[in-house]
Symmetry: C3
Subunit: 438 residues, 3 copies
């Protein structure tokens, strides 16, 4: 029999309840297993995080004309995001007010009215019930509008919030990020490709995976243009072996600052990831090699640039927003990611590539080259998330320590726990302090 | 941000328990979501509805000879319905009394004895244990008969009841419906086809779908012969645009009444859908076009009629029985439907087409023509049920109002709630009154 | 309506809790349904039986060299069984101590170190953390060894125990069984084939199925060489029709006793199936026809025998060990079975065929002939287990009586209930007495 030198799994310790787990959260560590594997926390996440936060769900480029719509499904919920006859973006629950049938079943399309397949109840794009056949005389159509959902657009990005009252800080966030985003004219772009990838892991593992480059050794394609020094907590933390890369990074940054200044593009990092309801991060950053785009050599993938700025080398504008989005914008295209929980161990990652509305596939861009690096990266991340889900599901899992380069993972978890505590009225057992970046 | 004019989804309202939901049911509206989506209500439905009501499960035409059997599976239950050596129809649980193995695994067949595959315990078709190898001397075979199930045949229809005590009103119902059914000699017919369709919805949505023709615009094939005026709550409710159809209907009815009287076929509507345990509805009705059968032009699909009555134009005899059956009988064939719950969101619809025992496929009838209208209609209904299940699963669903033409849906729901209240000893919070046909 | 002569299913009897079911267990009968179908008992089985008993998981022949490993998954747990650099067999949880990722994903292989795919944390085969990139200065690697699991080898069989404290009687059991097993040199053998079969039934049904030959009429291939008199509770119980087989059995046994004595092979039956934590049974027994191996004619399937004993006709050495293993060893090969629960109604049966390390496929043995009898037998058993699971899942199932030849089934159930009572601190309501072998 081996003499074990590490702690054993104690199968008998009673499971603490979700309230205690939220109260007891230890900073600087990954979360206990129930957060990632239990149906109880999944339901809590849908109710307290995904039903009460602003969620990135689409771009205006997907619904350019009145009558255009996309449907967004997460959990058992389905929401119609559509442009109404006045050109405004609207959001409604995709549920008929008669006997509850789902109304629109296509992921996207265009329609003049929303007609229920079951008994032909007919709604306008503004959600008002326009027609219901064979009703008794007293029937009042105005009582049966579709149930509406908060919607907010920021420089072409469409956010919804399912709560009765949506977090009001979206205006403050918009005021900060709009100047960064607006020059790239996303609302006027077109969708070059959109993919839906189902990862076999909890949505928080998907987000945590996105919030550090400690694992970027597993992304050979991305590493061509992503400086390997990204994500280190400080200049001091960068190891000697990365000194040449760091030199390249500093030179590239200095050159880009001139370019950004020249075109009036804001670039400083703003990082408010865990200090507000609509936690976010935005910054411009340099890219390696040609420094233009997410391609293997770093040159632009689309010769028709997104905007009129005659400069292919703009580095990348990157933004995160809690709980479910990140994006990268280069001179030639924009890459948007939204994350939608499906089950405790299933998560949808939707990736959208935008290019200039007039860019022609096969002429201005080759689709495989445009999407290749991130299609590979997405699949690599999905594989890592699945491994994490598998291991965390074991009773032998214990939370482990975040290293210095995982400070944005810590910030995400910190935001998540803070939101649960606020919305559920739970006090912290331990002081959260600023250990997040320990 | 939109100014919402409809109520928002309040994700925080606590879920009322099943008892409260049953007590609080509001007449004139669809049921709250848990009735359709929760495992708790599904289990309740199996225990209180499907284990305590008379269920239509087969026709005698499926088991004409001694030793013939069908097996009926719903939930985890399996029941053998067989004809014993004396020609009587018997029903037993399909579970060996030794170590519990399922005995018969085929959906139907013929056998002299029921032999367990595991250790060869052997039962007669009457359920008695005839043989068990290698038992100790004191072993008493008479203690290990198969557990029996109540069974009742009515004019060739086979009903079972799993309860200790079956609802006694089946005799009263049989006394009413047998004179309608008997002339069509279903026990002597043969099965032309039987299909099993799994619908992606709760069994109550399947039943509710069947109980109104408000949605019949979605049934282009069926609408050829089904008068579009069916299901209106009163003559006054029929809209002007249907006046020509209503005229045709009245003329056809007048002609058929003469035919029915001439052949001694009872035809008045008897509707006791929610006033007894074995709620039912029966009536004869006219059909459009040729008025003979469920075909695109209304002419008979089988030239060999079901009975000796030399009249192809008999309209249809239609019958419902709570909780799980409906049927239509025309001069040339009978169409029987049984509904079996599989999961909260999965339901089996079994459809059986009967023709005269001597009718020959390809000579007297073309199978595709015989079954085409209802195969299409069944699939259309399955699609509608799936949409309803999807929408009702959303937290945004709220019960909606039944219109006047949905009075039989209301009657079904009323019966269902009444049964749950009676069997669980729950009092109504609101008076049910006669709002059901509001 | 039939006049039922057997008891009806009473759908209303309240479900007794798991504690009551464990306390109330009736000897001489199969267990009540919840033991086989409920998630609650499945979780209990994983926690109290599979996490606290010694489990057979592999043979040393599968990991002959340092760095060789197998991964064993049951439920959400995954364990690495590996040979370390010193040649010792070690077992560790397959969970990275950083952010919990599963480490090794292949069922088996060979590696110098265990490197996490996610962030490259690197462990030695002894479980110690050797390397973690980019950590803060105070990071102490010695705190992050893989969590170890008890491991014990007996004559080439590898057992693990997940508990903090493993049952100590493994030493007593090893002292008994090692002299039986050692002469067959399993640690030096090689794997000729390994199959994983998923049975659609509870793991206890798999074990119960293995513990009697009352059902062996369903194993035509195996019956060639397995004396049909095996498993009768006493000589008196053997029916007259089996007298010729019993004569053959007695003659074969007498001849084998001389051979076993001549080679110093212990053979008496030792049966301590339900009287200790590590319940077991071991004995040598004769086989029918040529008496050498599990082939259709009983002749050896591998011409290169497992050991240097120059005798193809050794009968079989058979051993059971609670809760999850059995084996058969003939002169030419060894057959090992391990049973791993997957879900209440899903169980993995892993079968391993070992032959002499130098035996060459196609020369010394034909793989199909070596494995044919038990591949067929395994599938037949899987089919029977599925039937039992289906029937027991019905509310109509009631526990049935074990016959005299099912005494080892009774012993297994008795062991199982005894372990649950001991580990959960539950007293028996009825005296267990010695009814187990009634």
């Amino acid at each position: 029999m081996t003499a074990p030198f590490a702690a054993r799994v104690d199968a008998q310790s009673p499971e603490p309840g979700s309230q205690a787990l939220i109260a007891d959260r230890v900073v600087g560590q990954s979360l206990p297993a129930p957060f990632y594997v239990s149906q109880e926390f999944f339901d809590l996440d849908l109710d307290e995080i995904f039903s009460k936060s602003w969620l990135f769900v689409a771009t205006e480029a997907e619904i350019p004309e009145p009558g255009d719509f996309v449907t967004i499904n997460f959990g058992t919920r389905s929401v119609i995001v559509a442009r109404d006859d006045q050109g405004r973006v609207r959001a409604h629950h995709n549920v008929c007010r008669h006997r509850g049938a789902r109304l629109l079943t296509e992921p996207n399309g265009s329609t003049g009215t929303i007609v229920c397949t079951y008994h032909s109840w007919t709604y306008g794009m503004d959600g008002r019930l326009q027609y219901a056949d064979a009703q008794a005389p007293g029937f009042d159509k105005s009582c049966f509008s579709l149930r509406s959902v908060h919607v907010r657009t920021i420089a072409g990005l469409v956010f919804i919030c399912l709560a009765e009252e949506a977090p009001s800080d979206i205006d403050e966030v918009a005021a900060v990020v709009e100047p960064y985003l607006a020059p790239h004219r996303l609302a006027e772009a077109k969708v070059a490709k959109q993919t839906d990838l189902v990862e076999d892991g909890n949505w928080k593992l998907t987000m945590e995976n996105n919030r550090e480059c400690y694992h970027c050794g597993g992304h050979p394609e991305l590493l061509n243009v992503f400086f390997p020094t990204w994500g280190y907590s400080s200049t001091d933390a960068i190891p000697d072996r990365l000194a040449p890369a760091f030199d390249r990074y500093r030179r590239a940054t200095a050159e880009l600052v001139d370019i950004w200044d020249g075109h009036g593009l804001p670039y400083p990092r703003v990082e408010e990831l865990d200090t507000r309801a609509t936690g976010f991060h935005i910054e411009r950053d340099a890219m390696d090699l040609a420094g233009e785009s997410f391609t293997l050599d770093g040159t632009a993938a689309c010769t028709r640039l997104l905007t009129d700025i005659p400069e292919a080398r703009l580095g990348r504008l990157s933004m995160h927003l809690q709980p479910n989005m990140w994006l990268h914008i280069t001179s030639d295209h924009a890459l948007l990611f939204s994350v939608i929980p499906i089950a405790p161990d299933k998560t949808l990652v939707r990736t959208t590539w935008l290019v200039h509305r007039d860019a022609v596939e096969g002429v201005d861009y080759d689709l495989d080259r445009l999407t290749g690096v991130w299609e590979a990266t997405n699949q690599q991340d999905a594989d890592l998330v699945a491994l994490a889900q598998q291991g965390i599901s074991s009773p032998a899992y214990v939370p482990g320590p975040y290293g210095p380069s995982e400070f944005q993972v810590e910030a995400f978890v910190n935001w998540y726990i803070t939101m649960l505590r606020q919305r559920l009225g739970i006090s912290a057992v331990r002081a959260a302090s600023d250990a997040a970046t320990a």
